[in-house]
Chain length 203, copies 2
């Protein structure tokens, strides 16, 4: 059982960073599963791509289409839990926290910048998806198959969103070693800064 103050990166960041490095030769090493809650209270789950951390924070970053179901779900319930399993090193990170959407109507300058940076650092193939037809609608026979065109200098299209996850709890399991650690973000009374409380649990 131990505490770490907020000015140093929490221990789980080191573990995640090591896992990313050790698995980076795998195409799917950036794929993880995000669980959200639907408006009817039942869960949803899908694979998304980890796009790194928001600079200077512990927030995980993803991109998505404003027309996708997960946007509605996040608006209904802003809590999410990702499950990130690394297939080569047998490590699992379950990260629970607060989801935030940064969309086209964002007014905060820093967040607008995060969205723009995320757009320009996406591949052209990835950007093209956002210029395509509405995801989740029926495919009709007459549908226009022509590739949409996008100027490479053009900023984010309207439906391009960044989703961030601000971790509150990280549950780490190392299957090979049969070890489990849980990291919980906490605040001391009358103090502003967060710290991470860590504890070893039976797997």
């Amino acid at each position: 059982m131990a505490c770490s103050c907020s000015s140093v990166p929490p221990q789980w960041r080191h573990l995640l960073s090591n896992a990313l490095q050790a698995n980076q030769h795998l195409k799917h090493s950036r794929y993880l599963q995000l669980a959200t809650v639907r408006a009817n209270g039942s869960p949803a789950n899908r694979t998304i791509v980890f796009r790194g951390f928001v600079e200077g924070t512990d927030k995980l970053q993803f991109t998505t289409d404003s027309r996708s179901q997960k946007i509605h779900e996040i608006k209904f319930c802003p809590k999410g839990e990702i499950c990130y399993y690394f297939t080569d090193t047998w490590e699992q990170f379950r990260i629970h926290g607060l989801l935030e959407i940064i969309g086209k109507s964002e007014t905060d300058m820093n967040k607008k910048l995060i969205r723009e940076k995320a757009w320009f650092s996406s591949s052209s193939k990835s950007r093209m998806q956002f210029a395509g037809p509405h995801p989740g609608l029926p495919v009709v026979a007459s549908q226009d198959d022509h590739e949409p065109e996008l100027d490479s200098e053009q900023g984010p299209v309207d439906c391009f969103c960044v989703v961030t996850l601000e971790p509150e709890e990280v549950d780490y399991v190392h299957l090979k070693d049969n070890k489990r650690w849980v990291y919980t973000r906490s605040k001391k009374e009358n103090e502003e800064a967060y710290f991470w409380f860590e504890i070893e649990l039976t797997p």
Copy 2:
């Protein structure tokens, strides 16, 4: 858009069966992520192992420990969604449905049998986990490190549970082909039997 009657296996079963076969050389090909809802209404997500279908049904089968958090979550909200991503063939199955727990106090004879069969078809290493200390409790320094002992003839230990997922909707995406199909279980008015309604959607 098409319908299939309930007497033939639904199309998604063929797709899943093919994906399992095409990825079977990978150790993690039976690993998937199950999302549930916590008692506070926020989502939970973790990796579990697919243990095949309950004989003669479309129910997916898993095993778990009655002392794990997911049991409490399923009791609170019996809906679940698995996300099953096949890393070699780039296929994703999101399967949403009703979760059921088959535990030691089960009285239905068929379900008792499912639990016993699941126990005896588990590896001895896997069985040993259920004889170990309470999962999710703090590790204490004085903890007994001795391996628990289990007679190989012995039936399921008390905390051994089977969890089944009865699919209501299957959302299938083939990333390489950029194709998406959604299969929804439906019932016609005044009819007992289910059928599967299928529709192609934009990914």
